[in-house]
């Protein structure tokens, strides 16, 4: 029980940190390249644990992100729901991919996400995204191994401590 609870805590802290990182500014020129942190964290947890992440939770996370971002309510909710749905569908295969293939998968997932974003913005009549932002999924794929290792390390520690305490 305790183990599950500490893991849950780690999960929620991860989500909140991802949302904060999303708001944090980067120096002007590399601003469009900012990784999409909430997506990375959700992908990790949906690969890691069977019942932690659902499409509904991704939807709610997206709503929170929209609320903070103030762009268009429902935009990120839709995109994250689609993303998590795809990951959960191919979960059993993605889990056992070698790291470089996982990175490639992350690139594809976020590219899909980016196309969706461009479509939604086009429908809403917003200005098109800067051209440089199409490189953002590549940045996501490049940092994916580090994000994975970091979250995995935290997860193992939390689990180990929880098991000892239980």
């Amino acid at each position: 029980m305790n183990r599950v609870r500490t893991q849950g805590l780690a999960f929620w802290i991860g989500i909140v940190l991802a949302l904060l990182l999303m708001l944090m500014p980067l120096p002007g020129a590399i601003q469009p390249l900012k990784p999409y942190w909430p997506a990375l964290v959700l992908v990790y947890w949906s690969l890691e644990s069977t019942d932690r992440v659902s499409v509904g939770l991704a939807f709610c996370t997206g709503l929170a992100a929209d609320l903070l971002n103030g762009a268009l309510l429902g935009d990120q909710a839709l995109r994250l729901a689609v993303l998590v749905f795809i990951v959960l569908r191919f979960r059993s295969r993605l889990r056992f991919f070698p790291m470089w293939q996982q990175s490639l998968a992350v690139w594809l997932l976020l590219m899909n996400n980016h196309v969706l974003q461009a479509l939604i913005r086009a429908f809403a009549g917003a200005t098109p995204m800067p051209a440089l932002s199409w490189l953002a999924p590549a940045v996501d794929a490049a940092i994916w191994p580090f994000v994975f290792l970091l979250l995995d390390d935290v997860n193992t520690r939390v689990r180990g401590k929880g098991a000892k305490a239980a």
Binding site: L19, L20, L23, M24, P25, L26, G28, Q31, P32, K34, V55, G56, F59, G62, L63, D66, L67, L68, N69, G70, A71, L72, L73, G74, D75, A77, L78, A81, V82, F85, L88, R89, Q117, I120, A124, T127, M129, P130, S133
Partner: protein, 321 residues
Amino acid sequence: MALPQKESTPIFSDATAGTLRLIAYLAMAAILMVLDHRDGWLHRVRYATAAAIVPIYKLAAAPADWIHDAATAFTQRRDLIDENRQLREALLLAEARLNRMNAVTHQNQRLKQLLDTRQMLGMHAQLARLIDVQLGPTRDHVMLNVGADEGVHVGQVMIDSHGVMGQVIETLPHASVAMLVIDPEHAVPVMVSRTGLRGIAHGTGDTDRLLVPNLPLSANLRVGDQLVTSGLGGRFPAGFPVGTVTALRHDASGMFMEAQVKPAAELDRSGEVLLLRDLPDPAGPPAPAPEVGPPASLAPGTPPKSRTTPASSAAPAGVAR
């Protein structure tokens, strides 16, 4: 005790149920987006939850502040001395200039008062700080640390010490969002201060570029001309610097000229900004003056008010109070 029942009904296989659920969520998201796009739901929800949201913004902006503070703390002493000397010189120069300007301002004020009292906008300004967070995928909106509870309202003009920066587009209880002049959705009526030629400066999304399209080919305009707000439209008060013309070229149709303008305000710096208060009424025809009672000129002992003189009622709509 009954056994815990399975959540999904056996009518659908697991995969179908998952897909149906996804479709339901997608429909929900689409409905939300349409509602938000039409009625601005997001703003209402954001306003209601502002008490929880604004601290999150401050938290997200904190690391950038720390880095800035640390950079200040570790600056070399020599640099500080140098900077101090430079600032002192600049201050002397500015003070001298200010003294001269003061006299001119007083004189100008008296003349204006004589000419047209309506031009006298009691211009109060409120100091605001930028909260350093990024809103949305482009950097054309900024967040300020004052909001509706401090008296900020939508439409207030934001300036820095160099020129017009933008205007407030959304207020929360203790924060507000302002659109910068470089936003592609932003336009400001401008005037060439040398010749009085009027135009409208649009944002381009680039930090250092505005565009003034549809200028006549015969317009008297040069690279280096200063643009100031013209005051037409009633949102921006007249006379604030907007930018400097950097390039002129023919537009795609060849019938008009367009000017590229470098914004006067330092848009890529964060820091303190001023929000102007007591703006003139928004654009629209002036309300007809109620004609009740005997004419004011017949009243004993009172000089005719400027409000009822024919000259003022025929004035352009934009600046009428």
